[in-house]
């Protein structure tokens, strides 16, 4: 690394990721951490060589310091956004891992930075240690990316992996994950898909060069995934994963979502287990590439934060100009496709009553709603005199399958609709 002068860093947050960043940067003689904002100055911290005189419990001390780069690691929208804006006004470049802020206020943030000729880098906000943001900005810059399929949340991937391996229920595995610290006491942000939705919002905005609005991202969590569905999916050659996806069609319309999905055991994503993350991209000219690795954690996330810091530091060391590729302001809003107007394959689990003509009624409802059945599986009677029926459809419209489900629910033949899960397909 060629640096002509010492680069000064201010950090806001010294939790798990912050500690990893501090420890990693301590190897660099030309980088000096000048101020760190923490909640509690007196908290004992297991960080070798930490100079407690640079700690402050007022984060504005950091953004008002003489740092060249401010690293924001506290998350959430406020006070993070105001701190970052103040830092930019004070002439600092920004490195952040704040996926929520980027998803909700990315447009405002990048425009503000651009106006003040500062960069905001955010490799650590998406997929932890996996290099994805910088590669899209640099070596993949010649590509038109039209498809992203990713596992972006370690907590839900851990839960789904354990449900699969232990044949256990969502509730049991969630509790275990909470005991192990893999899931938070209030797990909503992870299990309802918010975290993955924040990340795919920002990733798709960068990849498509059009702004995706977080509120337009379709989102379903994993709370309704049943151990039985896992088992059946396995028998049929699939795993169930929480997939964050983004597609740009030939007319430039975006379809961005997070929901559970049956993915073929032949696919790379089906082998991404526990807290690992992965991002699959399709683009021209590159074709199909997949990047996988640790999606969170002290050191993996620190790798991305430090990579961003070194990228800015290398620039500051030689010139006041800023690498154009580092910029990230895409103000053209993407035209979005409503989930109802998308085509998908579906896995459907029903309880049918034990009576004549059930298959006929099912078939009729499917036919009336333009749904072709690719695969059907009926299991023996249960105690309550109903039979499990599993359907996998060919591609059909979301609005058609939803109408069919309403009709199943009203049908005399069906006692219950258990699950509807989308199925991955290769186009």
């Amino acid at each position: 690394m060629v640096m002509n002068r010492k680069i000064k860093i201010g950090m806001i947050g010294l939790g798990t990721v912050g500690s990893g960043v501090y420890k990693t940067l301590s190897d660099y003689k030309n980088i000096e951490i000048v101020k760190i904002g923490v909640k509690n100055i007196n908290k004992p911290r297991n960080i070798e060589g930490l100079d407690s005189s640079i700690l402050t419990d007022n984060p504005y001390d950091v953004v008002n310091s003489d740092a060249d780069i401010v690293v924001e690691l506290i998350g959430g929208t406020e006070p993070a956004f105001d701190l970052i804006k103040t830092a930019i006004l004070n002439g600092k470049h920004i490195v952040t891992a704040n996926k929520e802020l980027l998803a909700k206020y990315g447009e405002e943030l990048f425009n503000f930075a651009e106006e003040h000729n500062k960069v905001v880098l955010y490799e650590a906000a998406i997929a932890g240690g996996i290099p994805i943001i910088m590669p899209i900005k640099t070596i993949l810059a010649g590509n038109k990316i039209h498809h992203i399929e990713a596992i972006l949340n370690g907590t839900t991937n851990y839960i789904l992996t354990k449900m699969d391996i232990d044949c256990a229920s969502y509730e049991d595995v969630l509790k275990e994950a909470q005991d192990l610290g893999y899931a938070e006491t209030d797990p909503t942000g992870d299990v309802e898909g918010f975290d993955a939705a924040y990340k795919i919002t920002t990733l798709a905005t960068l990849a498509f060069k059009k702004r995706i609005k977080f509120e337009n991202v379709y989102r379903e969590g994993i709370t309704k995934v049943r151990a039985e569905d896992m088992k059946t999916a396995n028998e049929l050659g699939y795993k169930i994963k929480l997939i964050a996806s983004a597609d740009l069609d030939s007319e430039g319309r975006a379809d961005v979502r997070v929901h559970p999905m049956l993915v073929s055991k032949d696919s790379t994503l089906s082998h991404i287990d526990y807290v690992k993350n992965a991002v699959s991209l399709k683009g021209h000219p590159v074709g199909h590439i997949t990047l996988s690795g640790p999606g969170a954690g002290e050191f993996p996330t620190a790798s991305s934060v430090v990579g961003d810091i070194l990228s800015i530091a290398a620039e500051l060391g030689r010139t006041d100009y800023l690498l154009p590729m580092m910029r990230c302001n895409h103000n053209e809003n993407a035209q979005m496709i409503d989930i109802l107007d998308t085509k998908n394959k579906y896995y459907l689990s029903l309880n049918a009553k034990n009576k004549m003509g059930v298959i006929g009624s099912l078939g009729k409802i499917c036919e009336e709603n333009n749904i072709s059945v690719a695969c059907m599986l009926q299991r023996g009677l249960k105690n309550n005199n109903t039979a499990d029926i599993i359907l996998i459809t060919e591609l059909c419209y979301e609005k058609d399958i939803r109408r069919a489900i309403e009709q199943f629910e009203q049908s005399e033949a069906i006692s219950q609709v258990n699950s509807l899960i989308r199925v991955q397909y290769n186009d």
Copy 2:
């Protein structure tokens, strides 16, 4: 892409990759291709909008043109090296896909470029469309990489995949691959591991920041892999892949090699099939990441070439300085570990004679050579009154296993040693 002036490109070579580069760059209004060196000007080419007046059959016309960047796509060491040096002397930056030149003359090349303040980028030379070189230089720059395990040659991966799926012999699949154009008439460069060895030489040099000499890379090809070994490996939970690996031990000594390897079906690399490539890295702080995708082909390789061109173009558009991270001169030679002094797990296939005490003799030879057996499999008698014995060892020294094999070959109990293949293990 912010570019303040039109950037001029000269290309040497307009074959498969060159065509992909030409087609991809035609979308960029600020990039102009001013000269293209070809073997035969009059050859019909299926490239829309190609201006034949910029073609020349003298490649020195390209390096003497007014191009800002020269893209070298002819491969081989000469005349490529002289052309590139001449281009650098004429003030051009270089983008190349020439893995042989980089492996054999990388040190001289990068020093020459550095002396003349020019950069040589080479993303396309390693793993085709997979982003690996630029990520190591930028977003992973804060890492100490100590382990690389990769599938870097599409031809051999295609042959091994087909041998596995079709239970076919190496010879039969090679012929089929040649008929399909996946293997060359003289397949030596691929099947003997030269191509993969060129690539791992350059990749390890970059990742370890120490120069690896090509002649010190241990190399075994796939010509001796037998269909029977494939089958047995499958039964034991493995696939056989041609693995290019590089390790840096805690004393800074490098172990760089290319050879067939049994890889666990649980590992990501075991799922990389046909002409796909993959690179797995372990480093601190990032942990373990894997990047996979198309390792060759018109468009995937063009993606990397164009990524490099755009990276330089973005710099040239704003300043005469060059991004320090783009530089790549590592003149400190790596201290290398001889293959004999490395520890590995081994898969060993033997034919044993049908007589008393065979297992005892085997066990004695292993014990005398400090080899622990992890797994042994004996199969029923063959027509020639011998039995197949498969051994998988625990970690042991290469020199010990080689001595043991010499002793097996001299032993009364063993009629033949069929194969010795290393086995992947997780450290």
